[in-house]
């Protein structure tokens, strides 16, 4: 009798610990996964904002359209540069990279739960759409008043797991980025 009680207690503790460890691991995984998704999203958008010569945020701010010079003479089929930037030409007191009439356009928007980076290279009429992050619920960009500094806000939904219904609210990350090319041109 004593042995059965002790064994039951031990198994109960092990079971409880197992569930706790499982949930903790899921939480740790979610945290690290989403932190990674969040940082990648910000890194992508920030990098493109700094290089852009024109920035458009349509009403509502859920789509970000960036125009930038076609800095590179060659790209692979995925639109990724395969060579160093071309030499700029000084036109009207400003460096001009590539063909000014054929810029690169980059759009960021949310499709389903994915944050998409769509790149259109006019010179080669090439469009690519990369999934930057998943579990994204909203994406907004707005410029600080009268400024070339943009504020980015991306909200992530919590990751669903079977059997776990009590989801906490998702996390929202924000960043402010100086659009450097807007500033210097």
């Amino acid at each position: 009798m004593v042995g059965v009680t002790a064994a039951s207690t031990i198994f109960a503790i092990i079971l409880t610990s197992g569930v706790a460890i499982y949930r903790s691991c899921l939480a740790a995984d979610d945290y690290s996964y989403q932190t990674n998704e969040q940082m990648r999203s910000l890194d992508y958008v920030s990098r493109d904002l700094r290089n852009a010569t024109a920035v458009t945020t349509p009403s509502g701010g859920s789509t970000l359209t960036l125009t930038m010079p076609d800095y590179y003479p060659t790209r692979d089929p995925a639109g990724i540069p395969t060579s160093a930037p071309s030499d700029p030409v000084i036109v009207d007191g400003a460096p001009v990279y590539g063909d000014a009439t054929q810029p690169v356009t980059v759009d960021y928007y949310v499709s389903g739960a994915d944050l998409i980076r769509q790149q259109y290279v006019a010179a080669s009429a090439q469009t690519t759409r990369l999934i930057i992050a998943s579990e994204v619920s909203t994406f907004t960009v707005s410029f600080l008043p009268f400024s070339t500094v943009a504020k980015i806000s991306i909200a992530f939904a919590p990751r669903p797991h079977p059997g776990i219904t009590a989801l906490r609210p998702g996390s929202t990350i924000t960043a402010t980025v100086a659009a450097r090319m807007l500033r210097v041109q």
Binding site: D29, S32, R47, P88, I90, G93, A94, D114, L130, Q185
Partner: protein, 488 residues
């Protein structure tokens, strides 16, 4: 004989230990599996931090390069001492500045390598400096555990080449200064030589801008027939680069709804009643407005020594570009159409250059006027107030770049520059210590730099975009004109 109970262990009793061990093993495997999943994400987060450290390093390097470029303007033989080569004229140059390590989680060492070359030249033959700054940071994870997973496109195709934060596991970029693996980023920035970007907009002032009445600003391009007619301003071809900028709080400026075909920029605040601005409004504006120094000529034409209400036309003759004629006048005062000041060529049909240093005022009123003949290029340095009215200044070259009026910065206080009447002014007013006032119906064609501006002229302010190729030789600083993060 007393009997003694003998305890015989049950074979089943010992099963608890192996069961416990097995359970712990299962739990350990669950934990290990979870850690196996989590660890790359955590490492990738550190990876992102290192990647951003690399950018900080590259940006710091670009700033150091600009500092050296500006230092070389005043100390060309010593400014490049840390660079290789360290002389004043040989390019490209490289430098690995020491960047202090930082404290924190993950990596703590960064590296920067700078390269400066002068291979890019503008239309005037002036070399622009291309700065390439490589920033490198160590990745705190020594294996590929931290590698970022491949990104998918919307068709499901995965590519590691699409990874933004590429890591480097072989080929040390730092010659042993940092360990592998490394995150790296490169910035390429073009530094414009001093003065090449002085005339980027219609109006640049230190203090407030006030537009009233029917004042307006737009632009044209005298070098482009689609944007001008016979190289002159044509309202039908008006362009939208007539931007205005103030180094002061925008709240001090009031545009009264006047049309500005271009951007309006200030330093903080917001320009008042800016509904007529067709472009964007910024308030993080800053323009370098260096003082205009008094000329230090010791050799010049001694006659005339002044042009004060002459009783006959006065003609100042220029010289060839390598021998411009210099005049120093106590003042210019004109009021009679019959006795103008004429700025003429040294030889008919030749381009001619002259510089005039006016130690006092310029006052043109009534029917008096200054007449600049075709082919003449004029620079006027004036130390006191300027007032054009009536006949004004007749620039027969019709090119704004051919006339530069420099308002000398006084040792204290400010000066005034007024343009009124019905005649057009074609030229550059570069007077950062002068308060500019325009009125009447004459056009102001060119560009203006002033201490403040109060414009009410119905003729408008028309920026000649061709002036963006016109350097101001009194500027003293390089400035970045482009900023690219290289991804290849």
């Amino acid at each position: 004989m007393a009997s003694r109970a003998v305890f015989t262990p049950s074979p089943a009793t010992g099963s608890i230990l192996p069961m416990t061990m097995m359970s712990l093993a299962v739990l350990a495997m669950v934990a290990a599996a979870a850690l196996y999943r989590v660890q790359p994400h955590v490492a990738s987060t550190y990876h992102s931090a290192s990647w951003n450290d690399a950018l900080n390093s590259a940006e710091a390097g670009a700033d150091l390069a600009l500092n050296t470029l500006n230092g070389a303007l005043t100390a060309p033989t010593t400014a490049w001492a840390a660079w290789t080569p360290g002389d004043a004229t040989t390019f490209p140059k490289t430098w690995v500045p020491a960047i202090a390590p930082h404290i924190g989680d993950g990596n703590n060492k960064v590296y920067c390598k700078l390269t400066v070359d002068n291979a890019i030249v503008d239309v005037n033959g002036q070399p622009w400096m291309r700065v390439r700054a490589l920033g490198v940071a160590e990745l705190p994870i020594a294996s590929r555990n931290g590698i970022e997973s491949a990104l998918s496109d919307t068709t499901g195709h995965k590519s590691f080449r699409a990874i933004l934060r590429r890591e480097r596991f072989t080929g040390d970029l730092t010659a042993g200064a940092l360990h592998l693996p490394q995150a790296f980023r490169t910035i390429e920035a073009m530094a414009a030589p001093p003065g090449t970007r002085s005339y980027r907009r219609a109006l640049t002032v230190q203090n407030a801008i006030v537009l009233t009445g029917s004042a307006y600003a737009d632009s044209f391009d005298s070098s482009d027939s689609a944007k001008s007619t016979a190289s002159e301003y044509d309202a039908a071809k008006s362009q939208a680069n007539g931007s205005i900028g103030s180094n002061s709080d925008g709240n001090a400026s009031d545009l009264h709804g006047c049309l500005v075909k271009g951007d309006s920029s200030s330093t903080g605040g917001a320009m008042q009643n800016a509904g007529g601005v067709t472009g964007k409004s910024y308030n993080n504006f800053s323009a370098d407005l260096p003082e205009i120094a008094v000329p230090t000529w010791t050799s010049f034409n001694f006659t005339p020594s002044a042009v004060t209400n002459p009783t006959a036309p006065v003609t100042l003759v220029g010289g060839p570009i390598n021998s411009p004629q210099l005049y120093r006048l106590a003042d210019i005062t004109l009021s009679d159409a019959a006795f103008p000041l004429i700025l003429d060529t040294h030889s008919a049909g030749q381009e001619s250059y002259l510089k005039i240093w006016v130690t006092g005022r310029i006052t043109v009123s009534g029917t008096g006027h200054i007449e600049q003949k075709p082919g003449v290029h004029v620079q006027i340095f004036v130390e006191d107030n300027v007032a054009f009215s009536g006949g004004g200044y007749i620039n027969q070259t019709h090119a704004a770049a051919s006339l530069e009026i420099f308002g000398v910065t006084p040792s204290s206080g400010s000066r005034n520059a007024a343009y009124s009447g019905s005649s057009d002014f074609i030229g550059i007013l570069h007077a950062p210590a002068f308060d500019l006032v325009t009125s009447g119906s004459g056009k102001f064609i060119g560009a203006a730099i002033a201490r403040s501006a109060n414009l009410s002229s119905s003729g408008g302010l028309h920026f000649d975009e061709e002036l963006r190729n016109h350097p101001f030789k009194g500027a003293t600083l390089y400035q970045y004109a482009s900023w690219l993060e290289d991804l290849h």
